[in-house]
């Protein structure tokens, strides 16, 4: 059974052409490689402090 109200909540306003800057700026989330590099940086820093 399809619940209309629930289904309707999935629909949001689409970005208009004037909002393209906002769309571009929203892509700054880190990816797996960013996480890897930050982990490696932490690892190298701890190694340097141990030495």
């Amino acid at each position: 059974m399809i619940e209309f109200e629930e289904e309707l909540k999935k629909f949001h306003h689409s970005l208009e052409v004037d909002d393209i800057e906002e769309a571009v700026n929203s892509h700054n989330e880190p990816d797996m490689l960013d996480l890897l590099f930050s982990m490696l940086q932490i690892k190298y820093k701890s190694n340097d402090s141990d030495n």
């Binding site: 059974m1 399809i2 209309f4 289904e7 309707l8 999935k10 629909f11 949001h12 306003h13 689409s14 970005l15 208009e16 052409v17 004037d18 909002d19 393209i20 769309a23 571009v24 929203s26 892509h27 989330e29 880190p30 990816d31 797996m32 490689l33 960013d34 890897l36 590099f37 490696l40």
Partner: protein, 526 residues
Amino acid sequence: MKCYNCGCTLSEDDFCTACGADVKIFKRIVRLSNRYYNEGLDKARVRDLSGAAASLKLSLMYNKNNVQARNLLGLVYFETGEVVYALSEWIISKNIRAKKNIADDFLSDVKDNQSRLNNFDALIRKYNQACTYAKNDDLDLAVIQLKAVVAKSPGFMRAMELLTLIYVHNEDWNKVRKCAERGLKVDAGNTSLKTYLKEANKKIAEKENATGRRNFRKKEEAISYQSGNETIIQPLNDSGGTGGQTIINILIGLAAGAALMWFLVLPARIQAARNEVNLQLKEVSEELTSKTADMDDLNKRIEALQEENKGVQDALQEYTGNEGVISDYDALLSAAKSYLEDPEDALKASADLEKIKESGNSVNSEEFTALFDYLDSNVSAKAAEQYLKTGIGKYNDADYNGAIEDLTESFELNKESDQALYYLAQSYLKNENPDKATELFNQLISTFPDSEYKKRAEKYLNQGVEDNENASLTPLAPANEPSQADQAALQAALAAAAAAQAQAAQAAQAQAQPVIVPEAVAQPAQ
């Protein structure tokens, strides 16, 4: 694959041969990103755009610098109507790799065509408006907007989904199925549309089972297979039914043709015939109006001509009637003839001249006037004398009525005759009309104060003494016989008068020509 530390090309080892950095996890992450990209590409090839977008997002989650995945994701977004997201993906891709990037072509293709971009923007605005309507429960307005959007851009999946959802809410299952199938042709992996389609098929089947109607829909039973990006649906072999069914089909076709004729062709023909009749009616009306106007003009012309004819008839009557100018000429000629034949007998000539005076016509002819004046001056005095003479004779014979007539004529012809007036009064007195006699005696006294008859009149008026003596005619100077010169002048005047009479008669005839009214004019319009 390049080393993230030094940028050298990596080998199959888990470390960089140039800098010695550990690249085991790095290589695994990049491989995962590429794997999801490949998966997304495969899904995009079979138009599972939703699945492709999900895989490509995963690919970018592992490696956001995967330019190919980002470009493909932009393409998928663009195909599903998410133009802004597509542009943003391509812009980011361009930032990551400025050169030799296919995103350049995509961007220039969209950006360079400003009208196309405006159209995209307008569609997005309409979708957003429809979204607002739907959330405010204005579903009818939302449907109108969404129909406009999907009509212009059938690939705008969010609009198609929302439209289908509203149809689901309205339980218009046929439309749900139609929209869902249309949307799934663009995005075969769209789970929402699949759900709606499944629900619609279920409801339609239930309805058909409930009504017992045969389900003619055999699309699900058709054989379909994938060939590259195209889905080929092979129609089922239809034997065409029996011969009887063929005949029924032909009859149905004939009935449909007849219905088409009845509902489409005939009304058009009838309308055309009506238009033609109306046109003809309009032309006839205009012609009738024109003819009516002409007829009015002609009737006015007839009336004017009739008036003119009446005027001419009146003018002719003035000339030819009993009291017309012609009769005046006749009377004048008769008077002149009588005078010439017997100058002493002035009574007939005087009677003719009296007729001319009584008619009152104004004859503009100098000859007529000259002759009339000549006769009047010569005849009137003589006639007055003759009337006086006969009147006195009748008075003496006690014929007072006759005396009154003659003496009246005499006095009318000669107002200077106190004798005529006196004996006229005496005749009235003798005829037992003393009032009239008294009036005439008074007139005599006032008009002729030096008259010898004044004393007699006063005697009667003052003393009542009547004059019983016989009347005696006062001798008058003998009338002058017309001299030879007068005779010649009279002859010339007669000739001129005759000529003038002929000319007047001719003019009267010319004016009295009958007015010919054309038959066409006199006929009433049909």
